[in-house]
Symmetry: C2
Subunit: 504 residues, 2 copies
C-alpha cells in the first residue's frame, strides 16, 4: 500500500502559511471579449496608424535605427511611419517566451505560455501604512517594501522602485535602488530604462550579483524593464534609448502604452485598443531592429478616466474588457503579455479589494504572463501600501489556486466514501476526509472565517487591520537572502565607483 | 446626418446613478474548469450514487411518487434508488428556460440562455447596519431590506426572507413576508416551500397580486422557491412536499444541494460535485415526476469548510472551481443554473469584497442564470447587511458592464480621431470624445476616484461609509411601487383569512 504523503504542501513560516515558491500556472482557457473579426479590425487599424499617422520617437538614436531598417522618418516631428512588412518582419523574431534568471537561480521566471509571475508595486511617490500614515517615498521604506516582497512567495519579482526614495540624489539613486533589490531580495528586478546609463548600471549589477560580466548575460537575461509610452504615440528620448540599451544587451523589454480612454487615448474601446496596439508594436519593432531575437513583451494598460473630473480609474469594467482584449492581441502575435493589478482607492477598503479583484481576474483570464504592480498599489499608483501588499498577496494566492487543475480519478470521485456516510450525516470523521484534510483546501492568511461571537471576542479586526499585523510579523521575521561576501563587496565597489562617475 | 442620441443611458435618481432595469446579458463564453471527460466521470459517478446508494426522501408523498414512477423505494430508510433511465426521462421534460412574471410585468425575468438575474440576500437570522449595529431579524428591517432592493435596478428578485422577522409568530409569518414582498416591491419573489401550505399561500398571493386565481398562473409561473437539500443525500418531508406543491402548480423550483466539502460532502472536489449532482438530479426528477415540464433549475452551492475549525467558507478558490464546474454540469443537462454571492466576513471590509468578487466572477463565468444572495449576504449567511447590499449592487453592476459586447466599427475604431491628436497630446477636448463622453464609461456609485487630497478634505470616507450613506439616501427617496387598491384589499383579506385558518 502506497504511503500517503502527510507533509504539508505549504511552507509554514513563523507568521503565515504560504504557497511554496513557484509561478502560477494557468490551466484555464482565456476569456475572449472580442471576436476574431474584431481583433483583425483592431490589428488593421493599428497597422494603418503605424503606416499613415506614425509614432513619434524622440532622439537621433532611435530615429536612425528606424531609418536604417527602412521606416520613413520625419526628422522634424520625430514621426516614424513603418509599413506592415517591417512590423511583421520584426514580430517574426520576437521569442514567444522569455526566461529571466536572477542571482538566485531558484527564482528563475518564465514569461510565456501559461506561466504567470507577479511583481511588487512600482513607481509611487508616496508610501502608506496604517501605523505611520501617509508619507513621501524614502529609502528606508523602499528597503522594507523589497523585504516584504521577499517574504511573500507569491510576489515573484521586484518592479520599478516600489516607492521613490526621494531623499536620495536623483542622478544616482538608481544605484541604491538596485543594491537594495539585490541585497534585500534574490528575485528578478526591474531595471530603469530612463536613458542608457541607468539601464547599463542595472544590467551590470545583475551580472555582478551572479559573479559574471555584462557580456555573459546577453543570452541569459536577468533583468526586465517597462517602457512606458508617453501616449498618445510618443516615446521620449530617454525611454527610446533605454529600450535600445536593454535590447542591445539581450535583456527583457516590456512595451506598455498608458492609454487611459478619454485622456491619453480615444474614448472608445476599439480606438484605444488600436492606439495601444500601434504603440506596443512600434516599441517592440524597435527592440528587434536593435537586436533580432531580443526578449520583448506586449504590455497593455488601457483603462478609463472619470469623464466628470478626468481622474484615472482602474479595475473598472472598461479596464477589464481592455485587459482581456489586450491578451487576445498579444496572443495574435504570439507575444508574452503583461497586465497589472490596479485600484484608484485612497484607502485599503472594500473598493481597493474589488477594483484589484477586477484587475486580477482580468489579468489572469486574459492569460497575462506578468501581473505588474501585483501587490501594494493604491491611489491609482500614487502610493505604495504595506497593508495592500499583504491583501494583494492573499488575492493573488487565491487566484493561483483557482487556475489549478482539478483532480478527477477514482480516489477523488470517492464513491465508497459517499456511500459510507448515512443520509443526513457528515464527513468530518470519514477516513476519506481524514486522509486529506490538511491540504485539501487553500489556507488563507487574511480571511477570518470565525463566527461573529469569536471574531468579536478576539477584537473585531477587519481585513485591513489583520493585513497590518501580518506585514509587521513578516518584517520582524524577515531574513536577508544569503549573498557571497565577495559579491557583496563587488556590488558595493561598483556602486561607489559609479557614484563617483555620474555627474549630478 | 444622423442625430446622435444624447440622452443619458442611465436612470438618474435623486441619489445614485444606476443602470436601467434589465437583466444582465452575458456575452462572454463560460470558463470550463473541467474537461469533457471529467464532467462525464462526475456524471457517471452521480448516476451510480442515484442507482446504488440512493437519496433519502422523507414523507410518504414523495416516496409514493417515486415508487409510482418506477424508482426503488425503501420505506424503512426512505432511500430512493432510481436508474439512469428514469433520470434521463425526467431530465428530458425540463424546460431549458423559465420565464417568471411578477405583478409588474416589466419586472419579468428569464432564467435561461445568457440571461442573468440576481436576488436580495435570503435567510439570515440577523441584520446589521453601521448606524445601529447588529441585531436580531425583525419585520421592520425585513420591509426596509425589500424596499432597498426595490430601489436598486440590479437586484432583480426577492429571495427567501432577507432577514427572519423573528418577533412574528413562526406559524404564519410567511404571510406577512409575502405581503411585504408584494407591497414594498414589484419583483419576482421566493416562495417558502417548507411544507405545502406556505408554498400555496405564496402562489395564491402572487396570483391575487395579478388579479388572478391560482389556476391561471400554472402556465405563467410567478414565483420561485429554493429547495435546500439536507446534504448529504436527504430531502426532508417539508421540503419534499413543498417542492411537489410548487411543481404541481407550475411554479419554478431550484434544487440546491448545500455541499460544503469536508462537512456535508466529501473533502474532494470530484466527490463533492458528484454528490451535488446526484442530489440536484434527484430533486429535479421529483419536479418532473410531479408535473412533466414544470420549471426546474439546477442549483450549486459547493464550497469548503475551514478544516481547522469546521467553519464554512465562501468565495474560496474551491468555491470558485465548484461553481464553474456546476455550470458545466447544468449545461450538460441543458438546465438553467443557480449560483450565489457569498462571503464569510463578519464585517463589510476588504475580505467581504474579495470573497464576494470571487463568488460573482465565478457565478458569471459559470454562466449562472441566477445569482442568489446577490446582494447583502454577510457572515456566511447569518447576517443581512444594508451596507453590503449597496456594495454588492456596485460589484454586480460592474460585472453587468464587463459582460456587455464591445462595439468595433468604423466610428469606434476612430482612425481620424487618433490622427487628429498630436503625439504627446490628449483627447479630452477631441470631438470624438465630446460626442461620447457622457455615457462612454460605467459610472460607479461607491467607488471614489478623487485624488487623495480631495478625498481627505471631504472627510476620508471609506467604501463602507459611502455605502452607508447611499442606503440611507435610497430609503429616504424610496417610493412604494403603485398597487391597485382593490388588489391591496384582496391581499390584506387573504392574509387575514389565512391567519385565522392556520393553527399555531
Amino acid at each position: 500500500m502506497r504511503r500517503r504523503a502527510r507533509k504539508p504542501r505549504r511552507v509554514a513560516s513563523r507568521t503565515i502559511e504560504q504557497r511554496p515558491w513557484n509561478q502560477i500556472v494557468n490551466h484555464l482557457s482565456p476569456i475572449e471579449v472580442l471576436s476574431a473579426d474584431q481583433i483583425e479590425a483592431i490589428h488593421e487599424n493599428s497597422l494603418r496608424i503605424l503606416e499613415e499617422i506614425g509614432i513619434e520617437f524622440m532622439g537621433a538614436k532611435a530615429q536612425d535605427a528606424f531609418a536604417d531598417a527602412g521606416a520613413e522618418v520625419d526628422r522634424d516631428t520625430g514621426l516614424v511611419r513603418m509599413d506592415r512588412g517591417l512590423v511583421e518582419h520584426c514580430l517574426a523574431s520576437v521569442p514567444n517566451s522569455v526566461t529571466l534568471t536572477p542571482r538566485n537561480p531558484k527564482r528563475r521566471l518564465v514569461l510565456g505560455g501559461n506561466q504567470i509571475c507577479t511583481t511588487l508595486v512600482a513607481g509611487p511617490p508616496n508610501v502608506h501604512d496604517c501605523e505611520r500614515g501617509r508619507r513621501s517615498g524614502n529609502y528606508k521604506d523602499y528597503c522594507r517594501l523589497v523585504s516584504l516582497a521577499q517574504s511573500l512567495n507569491i510576489i515573484h519579482a521586484i518592479g520599478n522602485q516600489p516607492v521613490a526614495p526621494i531623499e536620495l540624489p536623483a542622478h544616482n539613486r538608481h544605484l541604491d535602488c538596485y543594491l537594495a533589490n539585490l541585497t534585500y531580495a534574490d528575485r528578478v528586478y526591474h531595471c530603469s530604462a530612463i536613458g542608457a546609463e541607468r539601464a547599463l548600471d542595472g544590467i551590470d549589477m545583475a551580472a555582478i550579483a551572479q559573479g559574471k560580466e555584462r557580456e555573459a548575460i546577453i543570452d541569459q537575461p536577468a533583468v526586465i524593464t517597462i517602457i512606458s509610452v508617453n501616449s498618445p504615440r510618443r516615446f521620449d528620448q530617454a525611454m527610446s534609448e533605454g529600450l535600445m540599451t536593454m535590447s542591445e544587451w539581450g535583456q527583457a523589454v516590456v512595451v506598455t502604452p498608458f492609454t487611459l480612454m478619454g485622456a491619453m487615448a480615444p474614448v472608445t474601446m476599439a480606438a484605444a485598443l488600436s492606439q495601444q496596439n500601434a504603440e506596443a508594436l512600434a516599441g517592440i519593432a524597435l527592440t528587434q531592429i536593435t537586436r533580432p531575437g531580443a526578449p520583448a513583451i506586449y504590455g497593455g494598460f488601457t483603462s478609463n478616466v472619470d469623464m466628470k473630473s478626468g481622474a484615472p480609474a482602474f479595475g473598472t469594467p472598461e479596464n477589464v474588457q481592455a485587459t482581456l482584449a489586450g491578451g487576445q492581441l498579444a496572443r495574435r502575435y504570439k507575444l508574452p503579455y503583461r497586465s497589472s493589478n490596479a485600484s484608484a482607492s485612497n484607502v485599503v477598503d472594500a473598493q481597493a479589494a474589488y477594483e484589484s479583484e477586477m484587475s486580477i481576474w482580468a489579468a489572469v483570464m486574459a492569460h497575462a504572463n506578468m501581473v505588474y504592480h501585483g501587490a501594494g498599489w493604491m491611489e491609482g499608483g500614487l502610493t505604495a501600501s504595506f497593508e495592500k501588499v499583504v491583501l494583494d498577496a492573499e488575492m493573488l494566492q487565491m487566484m493561483a489556486e483557482v487556475v489549478k487543475p482539478v483532480l478527477v480519478d477514482e480516489d477523488s470521485l470517492g464513491f465508497e466514501a459517499i456511500g459510507g456516510v448515512p443520509s443526513g450525516g457528515h464527513f468530518f470523521g470519514a477516513a476519506h476526509t481524514l486522509a486529506r484534510y490538511e491540504n485539501a483546501f487553500y489556507h488563507p492568511f487574511i480571511s477570518d472565517w470565525r463566527n461573529y461571537e469569536s471574531w468579536e471576542e478576539a477584537g473585531c479586526e477587519d481585513a485591513t487591520q489583520r493585513a497590518s499585523r501580518i506585514w509587521k510579523q513578516l518584517l520582524e521575521s524577515y531574513q536577508k537572502p544569503p549573498m557571497d561576501p565577495g559579491i557583496r563587496e563587488a556590488l558595493n565597489a561598483f556602486v561607489a565607483r559609479r557614484k563617483g562617475e555620474i555627474q549630478p
